[in-house]
Amino acid sequence: MIHLSRWKVVLLVLSLLFGLLFSYPNALTADQKAALPGWLPKSGLNLGLDLQGGSYLLLEVDVPAMREKRLGNLGEDARTVLAEARVGVLSIAKDPSGVVVTLADPSQMDLALQSMRGLIGANTSGVVDRSVQRQGTDRIRYVFTEQAMASMASDAVTQSIEVVRRRIDSLGTREPSITRQGADRIVVQAPGESDPAQLERVIGQTAQLTFQMVDVENSVQEAMAGAIPPDSELIEGAPDSGQAFYLVKRRVLVSGENLTKAEVTSDQNNQTAIGFRFDGAGARRFGEATAANIGRPFAIILDGKVISAPRINSAITGGSGIIEGSFTIEQASEMVNLLNGGALPAPLNVIERRTVTAELGADAVQAGKVSTMIGFAIIVVFMFLAYGFLFGGISVVGLLLNGLLIVAAMSMTGATLTLPGIAGLILTFAVAVDANVLIYERMRDEARAGRSVIASLDAGFNKAMGTIVDANLTTLVAALIMFIFGAGPVRGFAWTLTIGVFTSMLSAVLVAQVGLAWWLKIAKPKKLPIAE
C-alpha cells in the first residue's frame, strides 16, 4: 500500500484542483465574480441567517378566500350527490358556515338526507368536520361544525407553514426561518444569497391541481356572453393551451390531494411533460371517470388556469399519466416541486418585503470567528506536539486539504453555513485527525512488534483502513438517512456531515499515503520517528 501508485498522486492533484476551483469564488468580490468567464464556478458559500441576514417576507394567509372556496365546495358536493340520487333541488343558498339546500319535493327529504350524509366522512386529519341537519320540511343545512369553522384559519396557517417549508427545502438547503406571526401571518426569512423573486414565485402559487370534465354540451361563446350553466364554470386557459377560455364542469374528478408523486418527463414527441401518479383512491376515481367519458375531453387545471384539455382515448386505470403542455424544463421542474410540496390551503399574499440584518450581533459573529480559528490552531499545534514535524505536519496538510474540499463542496452544492455549523466543522476536523491517529498508532504497534519501517507503514495503513472505513460508513449511513427523511435544519446538518465524512477520509488517508511514500523515497529512514 505504501508503494506510491500513480493514481493516488493523480487523485490528490485532482482533488486539490477541485478544491481550488470551487472554493476560490469565496475570495472574490461580487464585481470580480461577474467578470469571470461563464464556465467558471461562481457560487460561494451561503452563510446562514444568523451570520448575514437576508430577505424577509411577511405573508398573510388569505383566510376569507379559502373560507369562501370551502363553502362553495360544499354546495358543489351537495349538488352532485343529489343529482346522482335524482333528488330535485329548488335552490342552494349560502349560509355563514355552509349551505342550505331547498328541495323541490319535500317527499324526497329522506332520500336527500341519506345521500347527503354519505358525504360526511373524516377529513385528511381524521376529524369529522361537517354535519347535515334537517330544517323544516324542505330544507337541509350542510355546514362545517363550529369547531371546524373556528380552527379553519389556524389550521390553514399551520398547513401553509409546512407546505412553504417543503417548497423552500426543494430549492436546496438554505436554512430559512419560517414562523407564524399573529393569527394569520407567516414570516419567511431566507439568508442573503437566496433570490427573493424566486422565493416569492415558489411561495406565491397555491399549486391547486384539479381534473375536471370539459362541458361539451354547452358552448363557450354562450357562456362568455353570460349564460353559464349552474354546474359548469368558465376557466381561463393558460397561454399555449389552445383556447383562451374553457367551459368545464364544476365537479372535481380528482385533485392534487390524491397525488403521490410528480416528476419531469417527456411525451412521445420528446416534449417536456409532467408525469404524475395518484394514490389508490385517486386512481380509482380517475379510472371510473375516464372509463365513463371515453371520447370526451377533460381539463387539467392548475391554480385556476387550464393547462391542457386532452381527449380521453381509453380508460386510465393505472393511476398515472402525463400532463402535456409547452413547458420549458425549468418551468416543468418548478411545477413538479410545487406539486410534490402539496397545495397551499389558501392563497398567500405578500404584505411586506424587506431586507434584514444578521440574527447575531457583530460581536457574537466576531467571537465565533476568533474561537473557530483558535480551535483550528489548537488542533494544528497539538498534532505537531504529539507526532512531530513529519507525521504531525502530514496531518496538518491533510486538514488544510480537508478544509479546502469542504469549502469547495459546500460552495458547489449551495449548502448553508451557520455559526454552529462552522463550530461543527471544527469538530469534523478533530475527528478527521482521528483517521491519522488510527494509522499512526497502528504503525507504532507494528514497529514495536519489531517490523521494519516499510513493513510498519504498510501494515499500519492496511490495518487502520478497515477501522476508518467502518467508522465513517456508519456515520455516512446515519447522515444519508437524516438527509433523506429530515427537513429543514436536520437536513442541512446531515448534508454538511456527509460532505465532511467524504472529504475527511479522502484527505486524511490520501495525504498520509502520498506524504509518507515520498518521505520513504527521499529520506530512506531506518527508524520510525514516532516509534520509541
Binding site: T158, I161, E162, R165, S177, I178, T179, R180, R354, T355, V356, T357, A358, A364, A367, G368, S371, T372, I374, G375, I379, M383, L385, A386, Y387, G388, F391, T418, P420, G421, A423, G424, L427, A430, V431, V433, D434, V437, Y440, E441, R444, D445, R448, T467, D470, A471, T474, T475, V477, A478, A479, I481, F485, G486, A487, P489, V490, L497, I530, E532
Partner: protein, 320 residues
C-alpha cells in the same frame, strides 16, 4: 528533546483492568441515565425561542436616523429573558426585536420592560404593536426530525449488526442512547437553553459516539479472532488498552477545541460547545463501559463452535 514528539511520553503498553470497574460504571450510568430522564420531564428542558416562540415588535428611530443595533441587543440581553433576537430592517432604519415572554409574567409587563431598556439605551424610538411569533420548529418539522433520527439509529444498528454481530449493534445503540440521554441531563442541569443549535450538538454527539464505538469494536473483533482461547473479559481489557493512546489523543483534541469554542465563542456558541464537550466525554466513556460490557454479558461467537466465549456473570446482571 526526549519529550518530543509527545506521543513517545505516553505509556507504550498499559494494562489497566477496565472490565473490573464495569460493575461500578454500570451503576453510575444507570443512576445518571435515570436522573437525566427524570430531569427532562421535571424540571424539564429550558426551551428557547426557537421552540417556544415569543413576542416581536418593531422600533424605528424618529427622523430617519440609524439605530445602534448592538446597543439595542445589549439592552435587551441584560433583561434575563433568554435568547433575544435583534435584526435590523432595511439598512438599520428600524429594527425587529424578538424576545421570549416568561410564563409567570404578563406579556404587557415584559413588553414594558423591554421598551424601557431600549429607550434607555438608544433614546426615544417609536414602537410598533407587539405580535406573537410561533416557534421556528413546526409540528411537521419536529415529527420529520424525530422520524429521521429514529430511522438513522435503526439503520446504524442494522449496519453494525451486518458488519459485526447483533450484540455489537445492540451495544453501539445502547451506548448512543446513553450518551444522548446524559447530554439532555446536562442541558437540564445547567439550565442551558434548548435551541436548534442544541439539536445540532446532539446530532453531532450521535455521530461521534458511533464513530468511537466502531473503532473500539473493530479492534475487539480483530482481537477476538486473534486470541481465540483468551477469556472474553481479558480480550476486552486488552483491546481497550491497545487503543488507549488513540482514544486519549482523539478525545483530547476534540475536547480542547470545544473548550476553546466555549470559552472564546461568546453566548452564541457557549451552550452548544458545552453540550458537545460533555457528549464527547460520554461517547468515549460509553464505548468502554456501555458498548463493550453488553458484549460481555451477551457473549460472542468466535471462530469454531468449540471455543465460543461464554457470557460472563458480572455478579449483578444476568444474560439478557
Amino acid at each position: 528533546m526526549s519529550w518530543w514528539p509527545l506521543i513517545k511520553v505516553l505509556p507504550i503498553k498499559t494494562d489497566l483492568k477496565f472490565v473490573s470497574f464495569a460493575k461500578y460504571a454500570a451503576i453510575l450510568s444507570a443512576v445518571l441515565v435515570i436522573a437525566s430522564l427524570v430531569g427532562v420531564f421535571k424540571p424539564g428542558l429550558n426551551m428557547g425561542i426557537d421552540f417556544r416562540g415569543g413576542a416581536v415588535m418593531e422600533l424605528t428611530k424618529p427622523g430617519g436616523q440609524a439605530l445602534d443595533l448592538e446597543a439595542v441587543r445589549h439592552a435587551v440581553d441584560g433583561l434575563g429573558l433568554g435568547d433575544v433576537n435583534v435584526q435590523g430592517i432595511d439598512n438599520d432604519a428600524s429594527a425587529m426585536v424578538k424576545f421570549q415572554v416568561p410564563e409567570d409574567e404578563p406579556q404587557a409587563r415584559v413588553v414594558e420592560r423591554v421598551q424601557t431598556a431600549i429607550t434607555g439605551a438608544v433614546g426615544e424610538v417609536a414602537y410598533s404593536g407587539v405580535s406573537v411569533v410561533g416557534s421556528k420548529v413546526s409540528g411537521g418539522l419536529f415529527t420529520s426530525g424525530l422520524l429521521a433520527l429514529g430511522a438513522a439509529v435503526l439503520l446504524m444498528f442494522a449496519y453494525i449488526w451486518f458488519r459485526f454481530e447483533p450484540q455489537f449493534g445492540l451495544g453501539a445503540v445502547a451506548g448512543l442512547l446513553h450518551d444522548v440521554i446524559l447530554v439532555f441531563g446536562l442541558i437540564v442541569l445547567m439550565r442551558l437553553e434548548f435551541s436548534l443549535n442544541m439539536v445540532a450538538a446532539i446530532l453531532t454527539v450521535i455521530g461521534y459516539s458511533m464513530n468511537d464505538t466502531v473503532v473500539v469494536f473493530d479492534r475487539l473483533r480483530e482481537n477476538l479472532r486473534k486470541y481465540k482461547q483468551m477469556p472474553l473479559r481479558e480480550v476486552i481489557d486488552l483491546t481497550i488498552n491497545e487503543i488507549l493512546t488513540r482514544t486519549i489523543i482523539t478525545g483530547f483534541t476534540a475536547v480542547m477545541v470545544l473548550a476553546a469554542l466555549a470559552y472564546f465563542g461568546g453566548p452564541a456558541l457557549y451552550g452548544f460547545s458545552i453540550a458537545l464537550m460533555f457528549g464527547i466525554v460520554c461517547g468515549t466513556y460509553s464505548s468502554i463501559y456501555v458498548g463493550a460490557p453488553i458484549i460481555l454479558l451477551w457473549g460472542v461467537k468466535r471462530g469454531g463452535a468449540a471455543d465460543d466465549a461464554k457470557p460472563i456473570k458480572l455478579g449483578m446482571a444476568s444474560r439478557p
